[in-house]
Subunit: 503 residues, 2 copies
């Protein structure tokens, strides 16, 4: 595969996507929703083959991959529902006021239109739900944008099977094939030039990416340098701080033990290969904290490594743990067992000195860093100084007597700080496991993402791929259905500023 061939493959895909744009954006809500549902059904039809390929390529357990099929099809159907309801069209009507003085008001109508072809870079850690026909693809198609997926080289066969299913649905809908194209890594090669050519391509109007900070920043830089810059939605890196307030450890030794076990469970789940893995935990000094740490250390020590997604990820994990462990004041206090080179040992480190909290960039895998604090009053400035994160978690017990400030007051002080630093705030839970719904935010300030104004999971994700257009005095016979007076699509509309539900 020469670089010229690669560029040709990219250009063929983006040209097809551009040429398919008019047909896709012209679909009615019903047609577009049906397309999304058909993709879900076609994936289900090939479920067995897809699961087998994904398990073989990702080394993730069959149960997890089976669950991910459900998540992927559920996501497509969620967006079908969003498209049918049509609230994302954001229709606004300001009727004409011909008699207004000093100047009459024209008839003004607004709706959202799709941006154009979208490049999607799937993640290795969710070979289905965040990859070929995952969240970015589903939300872009829902918005009316053709999609070109840069196939992830960690699961090429899975990608090809899913793409075949999606393309069958596109064909059955009578839409041009360019509505959905996979750039198969086995054909394009796996070098950076594929992704860079795709993002630099003038026919691409937005980019969805889930992966490493380095990868996301590189693509954002390519997009910013284009003659016409385009939005890049890169979900990159996060250490997902967890704050254990004193009350959470106050009840009994058993509570402490259970909390530590739950922490290590979240930390080691799926070999720790989650964007929301709890990489940094703030723990009170004192006996209860010591007991938590000892219990967590034991649990990590008893854990066995699981095979990671790729040899490269396993090796980056190893050097990441080594790098953090070598920092001043940091000590690796527990290590589990490796199960071969690609299944490295889970590990736990403790910060004893004054290492700044920001020293700990994400180490992708089952590695936790515990920071001790002596007063809950110190937490707010430390968390305020952290980089942007996908999530932050607080463990607390409102009823526990823990001195001044009590857990409730401490949590109350932390809340606005966390709002300013993260996309999702959890209490008394663990950040792994991202619900796909309407209220979810999988996003957050830089560098958790390149664009904090939105989410890559949940129904709001559709908003990433559209922009508003205003129609001024456009004759009724020419108005798009979405903004017609008789509201043929039964849309929610904002009339003169006030929301009106369809009857």
């Amino acid at each position: 595969m020469t670089q010229t061939d690669t560029v040709h493959l990219v250009e063929a895909a983006t040209t097809a996507a551009r040429d398919a744009f008019a047909a896709l954006r012209a679909t009615t809500p019903t047609e577009r929703a049906s397309l999304l549902e058909a993709i879900a059904s076609e994936i289900e039809a090939d479920k067995d083959a897809i699961i087998a390929a994904a398990v073989a390529e990702s080394h993730l357990p069959e149960g997890r991959i089976t669950g991910e099929v459900g998540r992927t099809t559920g996501q497509l159907r969620l967006f079908a529902g969003v498209v049918r309801a049509g609230d994302h069209l954001g229709v606004r009507l300001d009727p004409a006021l011909p008699d207004r003085t000093p100047l009459p008001r024209a008839d003004l109508r607004q709706r959202m239109v799709p941006l154009g072809p979208v490049a999607v870079f799937g993640a290795s850690n969710f070979p289905l739900a965040f990859s070929t026909a995952g969240g970015d693809t589903a939300s872009a198609l829902a918005a009316g944008c053709p999609v070109v997926v840069k196939g992830h080289p960690a699961h090429p066969e899975t990608a090809a099977l899913v793409a075949t299913a999606a393309s069958r649905a596109v064909q059955a809908a009578g839409l041009p094939a360019g509505v959905f194209t996979l750039l198969d890594s086995r054909e394009t090669g796996t070098g950076y030039e594929v992704g860079e050519a795709l993002v630099a391509d003038e026919r691409i109007k937005a980019v969805g990416f889930t992966g490493s900070r380095g990868g996301g920043l590189a693509l954002a830089a390519v997009a910013a340098k284009r003659p016409e810059p385009v939005p890049v939605y890169a979900e990159m890196s996060s250490v997902n701080p967890v704050v254990v307030l004193p009350g959470a450890l106050a009840d009994s030794a058993e509570t402490v033990e259970k909390l530590a076990a739950a922490y290590v469970g979240s930390l080691t789940l799926g070999a720790g290969q989650f964007c929301t893995n709890p990489g940094l935990l703030f723990l009170p000094t004192g006996e209860a904290g010591d007991a938590f740490l000892a219990a967590a250390g034991r649990a990590v020590g008893e854990a066995t490594g699981q095979r990671m997604l790729t040899p490269g990820i396993a090796s980056a994990y190893g050097s990441g743990v080594e790098g953090v462990g070598a920092l001043d004041g940091v000590k690796v206090v527990a290590s589990g067992s490796a199960a071969g080179e690609e299944a490295p040992a889970p590990a736990l480190a403790v910060v004893s000195g004054d290492a700044p909290d920001d020293a700990f960039e994400e180490v992708f895998g089952a590695f936790g860093v515990v920071v001790r604090y002596s007063s809950a009053a110190d937490l707010a400035p430390r968390l305020a100084a952290m980089e942007g994160q996908l999530t932050a978690t607080v463990h607390y017990d409102a009823s526990a007597e823990t001195g001044d400030p009590g857990d409730t007051e401490a949590a109350r002080t932390l809340l606005p700080v966390l709002e300013d630093r993260v996309g999702r705030i959890l209490f008394n839970g663990w950040p792994t496991g991202v619900e796909v719904g309407h209220a979810m935010v999988h996003g957050g300030p830089f560098p958790a993402t390149s664009d904090s104004r939105t989410t890559s999971v949940g129904s709001r994700a559709i908003e990433r791929f559209q922009r508003p257009v205003c129609y001024q005095d456009v004759p009724a016979e020419l108005l798009p259905d979405a903004v017609r007076d008789d509201n043929p699509w039964g849309l929610v509309r904002r009339v003169d500023g006030t929301l009106e539900l369809p009857r």
Copy 2:
């Protein structure tokens, strides 16, 4: 003024803004709306002095400036209404489903939070409505973001008077002064380093800009190079194409004459110093088109230049007209009278050859370029090939018999093309005059703006300065008011995906 002093002034302003952020974002809808209304009232209290200063500094007529005071205060009150209603908070609730299988669902709540301090770069052509306390400032404050305005050197006294009024309102509300700061160009100097230092400052979390393409691109580049990139909303340049379809000229010689007069009226309004000035007009070949062109040429020839905003703008207009006039196939066919060096003559040019439509970047001022076309069927690809624009206008007459395609069919073909290229589509009107309401879009694809996903005029502009946060299983006692079960602010909420109006 040394560069060090300038940097200190910028840092003092951004530090005050950062320190004021917590207090501003903690305001209730009523408190924040009252602040916006108080700024409007304080501006009205100083109306006479503000109008006198703005007329003297901008050379715009008193009637126009008086109208702009109303637009500025109306805009502040519009956003007060938006804040009181609270729809922009985008509240979403996905209630817990503890019994769901295979996994329970947590309680999930979402709302928008403000991004943080915003830098505002006002425009010279709207010294009130798009400047110190103009649309960007009003929408940023409404979102809960402190504002640092880089004062426009073309109207320093106006800026200072408006800032004093705004600061009185901030003080009366008991909020920290850092909620609103003007960097007075008489103190900071007028070099590029003020704006660049402001946009590069880590305490600034978003930028609003209205001005030239060069200026906007320079600031966007500074923002992209920050360790933490931030959104830049730059409204830059647009030639606002107008398409005259054959039917619009078919009725009578009088119709043609009137249309040409209206065109030149829009072209020369306010010395042509509008972002939405109709800089490029597509006119059919043939007799009726010839008559339109002759009438427009006469009207331009009879027009006298008005004093432009600054000597620099007047001189840029002169070289702009010269530059376009020197292009192959372009001919300046009419010129009005100059009224001194700062009030250059309005002018009209015609493209006779094959000069590409994209050769005509905006010339800020009363200069129109007319392109002739022989078939309406050729228009769609030509408009599709244009750069992004703020507006596009179509003049047509559905009832006129104009052959194949008729105006209606031609317009129907153009509409999706225009949707893809512009922010606002107008029929049978002129783009100058931007209504401030709910359905307006003052935006559009690059290079009309640096971010097409929003608008800088109208109530949707508030969305530029916020991002979503999700609360997962946050205890009731800690939940922000906006997402509490009992809905104390009476907000519209999306519950399990369905919009519910407050009772």
